[in-house]
Amino acid sequence: MKTRLIFTCTAIAASAFVLSGQQPRSEISGHIVNGEKPKIAVIDFRGSGDAQKFMDPFNKTLWDELQGSGALNMIAKSLYPLTVPQVPGDFKAPTTIAPLRRGEAPRAQNNGPWLTDWSGPPVTANYLAFGYTGAQGGQLVLYGWLYNLAQPDPATAQLIGKLYYGSLDADGAKKVAREFAADILQQFGAKSLDGTKIYFVSDRTGAKEIWSMDYDGSNQRAITQYHSVSSMPAVSADGKLVAFTTYALGNPKIMIYSTETMKRVPFYNPVSSAVETPEFTPDGQRLMFATSLEGWVQICIADVNGGNMRRISHVRAIEVSPKVNPKNPSQVVFISGRGGSEQLWRMNIDGGDLAQLTDGDGYVANPAWSPNGQFVAFAWTKGYEPGNYNIFIMDVSKPHEPNQLTKGSGRNENPWFAPDGVHMVFSRKTGTKTQLFTMTADGQNVQQLTTQGNNIQPVWAKGLN
């Protein structure tokens, strides 16, 4: 059962790659479609002169970026040959020498590093990343290569051979490592997360405010300082607007900020006892949200400035969290209590073609689309007591086959896909504290991003370039 689940999840992650819009090379997609991650060996890079001082952060960053992508099977360094290449010229083809005795097969004699040192056991890698750095003119220069080890010789094996430039310090070393990693990942159809932002809610100052950080947890900073309750951020597809709910003015209201100027842009709110769960349509022209109408919180849509508000649901049930399919803007998933307990539902953006996607068990919350519009991740108490949510993922065309990604490690909520379609960020409450974590969409590679206060409701947005 566990094996099958992992296989299915890997296939889901793999499909996410294939459908993410950037088609990988056919030979590489072969690995992925077969459910196998490409195996890569990454040498420890060394630096000449002053560059050597920054090789620890460089090597750690390069390894973490590649491993964290979830797209590659990283071969442990302990298995590598003792002699590692640093430049293509280090590869020396083995020569064939005559057998010592007649009747024996000719023997191969190693003259230096060769591709088969890496493709054969015990390494058995498909790819090799190598190179070195140097200090040149006050800059850090990286010479990075990626070889396909299935090729017979270095001339045909080279996929990447490139120079990267950074400042001669640890930050510069991390920068060139990330850029090299991004180029490697692009070979496998995986997108780099460099530059992406995570918006979230933190109470570390004593009140719930909207915060942002880089995708790896660095650069955490507050966007709002209302000393009230501000929550439920949503970001437009272009990353330029962030909307959220706030009680800063007494009655609940949606506010929208420009992420470029960090200033408010106008949004006209209904006066209501509840205004919540904003969601930009993929074209950024309209905003869906939920607000109390005739005694029930219902799903609405309005222009992005709040004008032309229109009610979509007309039911005596609570309906919240509308999420528009990024690839099919007429399709919406949302949470509805119309069947009793709150469940995941799907509808057209005009309210028609309703379908319940989860089976009615437990309580469902926080739906979030994969960037390719095929999967929805959500939190569900299925199999657990009320409040004990776990993260699930579902192919919306196969609603009867949800996969559970977290298993009982505290309260797991608020899943959100990274722009690469491979990673997710989510919140996990263990004990009394809730923190944000990332994982790959198969539930692996869990890493903690936050430590201060409680942190919830992450939204992973593309960066501004």
Partner: protein, 266 residues
């Protein structure tokens, strides 16, 4: 008080009636007025006294000598042999023996002057006036308890079942009590209005809980309106699970948080 005045007035009127009635009953001829006094002789002194005597101020006092502003003092005097007696400070001519109440606002000297053909005499007295202590602070607002105080002290929360917004039996009791309270508050303060807050325990999702808190506030409002509390003076707001009264992970705390709470609207 007004009743007493009216009673008093009626009594006086009745007495006046009785008096005039008595007068009517025993009519007598009017008494003739006394004859005018004989005119003073035109010719001057009948007695060739050498000189008329000089006036003499026997006493001129102020009692008390010092007052606070707004209080009064009494001037008393006794003068002999004067034909023309006056006090300055606009008190004017006075009799030979008399008293006068004065209300000086500042320390004031009063000078009594007595004159006659034989001469004059003056005497002064000073009334010291001191400022009274600072006025007391204005009276506090009437000791009626404010509507929000009454609400804070007496209103009862209505509690709900998990994931439910129907008013339970204990909630009906609480809200019936609250309806009476609100009617009293509204009667005393025509500008008062109330907001019903809907709250949830921490187990549901933040998003759904805002909807559930809204339902609970709405259910409580509808119940109060059925009991005759004017709907126009009740608003609702949902705080979901963002304002818990406790944070323990047990049913007792969960129950305390699943509530509709009444507060004064701002």
């Amino acid at each position: 008080m007004r009743l007493n005045q009216r009673t008093l007035g009626a009594a006086v009127f009745t007495m006046a009636l009785l008096v005039s009635a008595a007068g009517c009953g025993h009519k007598k001829p009017p008494v003739a007025p006394p004859p005018p006094p004989a005119p003073a002789p035109e010719s001057a002194p009948t007695t060739p006294a050498a000189k008329p005597s000089a006036p003499r101020i026997n006493t001129f006092t102020a009692e008390p000598r010092s007052i606070e502003r707004g209080q009064s003092a009494t001037l008393r005097w006794s003068v002999a042999n004067a034909t023309d007696i006056s006090i300055d400070q606009n008190l004017g001519a006075v009799q030979a023996n008399g008293n006068r109440q004065v209300f000086p606002s500042n320390t004031t000297s009063y000078t009594l002057t007595a004159r006659s053909a034989g001469g004059s005499d003056t005497r002064s007295v000073t009334v010291e006036v001191s400022s009274p202590p600072a006025p007391p602070p204005p009276a506090p607002p009437p000791p009626t308890v404010s509507g929000s105080d009454m609400l804070n002290r007496e209103a009862q929360d209505a509690y709900f079942d998990y994931d439910k917004s129907e008013v339970r039996d204990d909630g009906r009791t609480a809200l019936t009590h609250d309806a009476d309270l609100l009617k009293r508050i509204f009667a005393a303060d025509p500008n008062f209005s109330v907001v019903i807050e809907g709250h949830c325990d921490e187990r549901g999702s933040a998003e759904y809980n805002l909807g559930l808190g809204d339902r609970r506030a709405t259910s409580a409002k509808e119940f109060l309106v059925q009991l005759g509390v004017p709907a126009a003076r009740i608003s609702t707001i949902s705080y979901g699970k963002d304002r818990p009264v406790c944070t323990d992970a047990n049913e007792e705390c969960y129950q305390r948080n699943r509530r509709a709470h009444l507060a004064a609207a701002k």
